[in-house]
């Protein structure tokens, strides 16, 4: 995390501190917020504090544990305000119950948590996949008949409340 500005400090309180106290406060902020640099300029008054840690992040990749999906949690984090329905298993994605049949859902369709959105064939078994969320399908991310892996996004959905969804389904 890197703060570019100090917005939390009340400007008045800040101005009333003497210079050394300001600097100490800045350093304390840097320490608690893991900052590399602070620069403050007010009228004729300017302070710049920069941390000495010069290690390039490019040299040190992968510094975080991969975000583990918890069991049952198949909804990926929002991207551009959308939710994604992720595959709960490895297998082959089919958008319709049988070849040539109508797809379970398409773009523009409303889904609720119980809506079956696709089937995934794994080990010759057809698994019905439910949406487990409410909203409007805005994109089908996988082609019919393609392999999917665990956690792979299948549909992008604009989230709506169950009530909104129900209303839209009735329309």
């Amino acid at each position: 995390m890197r703060l570019e500005r100090i917005s939390d400090l009340s400007k008045r309180a800040y101005r009333s501190m003497d210079t050394m106290n300001k600097i100490k406060e800045l350093i304390s902020l840097m320490n608690t917020n893991d900052l590399a640099e602070i620069e403050v300029q007010e009228d004729t008054f300017r302070i710049k504090v920069r941390r000495s840690n010069g290690v390039q992040p490019s040299v040190l990749p992968s510094h975080q544990l991969p975000g583990a999906m918890e069991e049952g949690q198949r909804l990926l984090p929002r991207k551009d305000n959308f939710l994604e329905i992720a595959s709960p298993m490895v297998g082959t994605f089919y958008k319709a119950p049988t070849p040539g049949a109508e797809p379970f859902v398409g773009v523009g369709d409303m889904v609720d948590p119980e809506t079956v959105v696709c089937v995934i064939e794994a080990m010759k078994i057809i698994n019905e996949i439910k949406a487990e969320l409410s909203g409007k399908v805005v994109e089908v991310l996988v082609e019919d008949g393609k392999a999917v892996e665990y956690g792979q996004p299948l549909f992008r959905v604009f989230p709506l409340s169950p009530e909104q969804t129900a209303q839209a389904q009735q329309r």
């Binding site: 040299v59 040190l60 990749p61 992968s62 510094h63 975080q64 544990l65 991969p66 975000g67 583990a68 999906m69 918890e70 069991e71 298993m89 490895v90 297998g91 082959t92 794994a122 080990m123 392999a147 999917v148 892996e149 665990y150 956690g151 792979q152």
Partner: protein, 449 residues
């Protein structure tokens, strides 16, 4: 020969199999859990499939997920590595019924040798010495006491489905026997969902010596020498060497004969290991057969020049072995140190974390099998093995000197490892004099506390 193989494992052994396949011109599919998704070795596979969340039960032990990954990526075979599903007969069975070759012995052999008391029966039928004890599982405490009195204390209680030291207890008298039975039963039930136990004489001051077997589908069964794995902690091997520095040539020959007899009796195919205990008088006893690749297989590769992983793949594809026993040569001495991310100052608890600096040793006779690298984050979900440092030299003295130097050159910062323990072992007079047994490491650590 196969054109595409799925590797149902992770870490150093996944990378080991990727490398072998690359050299054979076989494409690889690596499967991984969410915890391993950023692991560098995955990019050396031709394809990769996420099979589940971090817990092993939902990923590396998730059979439907792995079989499904094999089907969607259209592989012809699965290499199970070691651990995880490598000895799971039901997994091999599902592979067989899905027309995917399981790179290992048949599911029937896995099942037979996977049950310790059945394996023991096979040994007895084939005149391979076993540790005196119950011929079948114990049904009640009275039976256990009566057997213990017959074979004499101390006795060892083991889970029929056991492994890795779980469900294992030593008893020195009637009172501790009752307690040990209860404890072992509970552990076995928890770990293997099978609480059946058996009882045997506890062999004191024993060495752990195992014989590597390689058998094709055309009736050729060979041994590739032995490995001495006596240096263990909590039944986990720390340092292995070949040849065993503590057995006579005559005993060595007897172990080879016994191991080959066992393998022939069960029509063994692929790579396998027959484990023995050797007591102070040079008497040996069959313990179990490991029906898979061993972690410590590289030391056998170093002295024989044979690539065990490639042979596993060739055998599974139906190829016959291209050599016979007389062509197998044993050159020099090889030693392996298993380097774990563990904290020696804290009861050797796994010490996952991020490796901040990583530099491996090199030069003639030094081999490093490791998936670690600078910046690698060791996930807390799995085995804490991060590297196998293997050396091969003409003599044991040179091998020890080489290994000590290599450990000195090895730089692993940011996490705690067993490197200091290995260095201590290598400098210990008992190790230098080859005077040690399976209790040596724990005795050494115990004395320090």
């Amino acid at each position: 020969m196969f054109s595409r193989i799925l590797i149902a494992n992770r870490g150093e052994i996944a990378l080991r199999v990727i490398r072998a396949c690359r050299e054979l011109g076989i494409e690889t599919v690596a499967v991984f859990s969410k915890a391993d998704e950023n692991a560098r070795y995955l990019k050396y596979a031709d394809d990769k499939v996420c099979i589940g969340p971090p817990p092993s039960e939902q990923s590396y032990l998730n059979i439907p997920s792995i079989i499904s990954a094999a089907e969607v990526t259209d592989v012809e075979a699965i290499h199970p590595g070691y651990g995880f599903l490598s000895e799971a007969s039901h997994f091999a069975e599902i592979c067989e019924s899905s027309n995917i070759t399981f790179i290992g012995p048949s599911s029937k052999t896995l099942q037979l040798m996977g049950n310790k008391s059945q394996a023991r029966k096979v040994a007895m039928e084939n005149k391979v010495p076993v540790i005196p004890g119950s011929t079948s599982t114990i049904t009640n405490q009275q039976e256990a006491v009566s057997i213990a009195h017959k074979i004499g204390f101390p006795v060892l209680i083991k889970a029929s489905a056991g492994g890795g030291g779980r469900g294992m207890r030593i008893a020195h008298n009637d009172a501790s026997l009752a307690n040990a039975l209860a404890m072992a039963q509970r552990e076995a039930e928890t770990a293997f969902k099978d609480s059946s136990l058996y009882i045997e004489k506890y062999i004191e001051h024993a060495r752990h010596v195992e014989v590597q077997i390689l058998a094709d589908q055309h009736g050729t069964i060979l041994h590739l020498g032995e490995r001495d794995c006596s240096l263990q902690r909590r039944h986990q091997k720390l340092l292995e060497e070949t040849p065993s520095p503590g057995i006579t040539p005559r005993l060595r020959g007897e172990l080879y004969t016994a191991a080959l007899r066992m393998a022939k009796a069960v029509n063994y195919t692929n790579a396998g290991t027959v484990e023995f205990l050797v007591d102070r008088d040079g008497k040996f006893y069959f313990i179990e057969m490991n029906t898979r690749l061993q972690v410590e297989h590289p030391i056998t590769e170093m002295v024989t020049g044979i690539d065990l992983v490639k042979e596993q793949i060739r055998i599974a594809s139906g190829e016959p072995l291209k050599y016979r026993q007389k062509h197998v040569r044993f050159d020099g001495v090889a030693i392996e140190c298993r380097i774990y991310a563990e904290d020696p100052d804290n009861g050797f608890r796994p010490h996952p974390g991020r490796i901040s600096t990583y530099h491996v040793p090199g030069g003639r006779g030094v081999r490093v099998d490791s998936h670690a690298h600078q910046g690698y984050e060791i996930p807390p979900f799995y085995d804490s093995l991060i590297s196998k440092l293997i050396v091969h030299q003409a003599t044991r003295q040179e091998a020890i000197a080489c290994l000590k130097g290599a450990l000195e050159e090895y730089v692993i910062e940011g996490i705690k490892t067993t490197v200091p323990l290995h260095t201590k072992l290598l400098n210990h007079p008992n190790f230098l004099n080859a005077d040690f047994n399976t209790t040596f490491v724990e005795g050494l650590l115990g004395r320090e506390q």
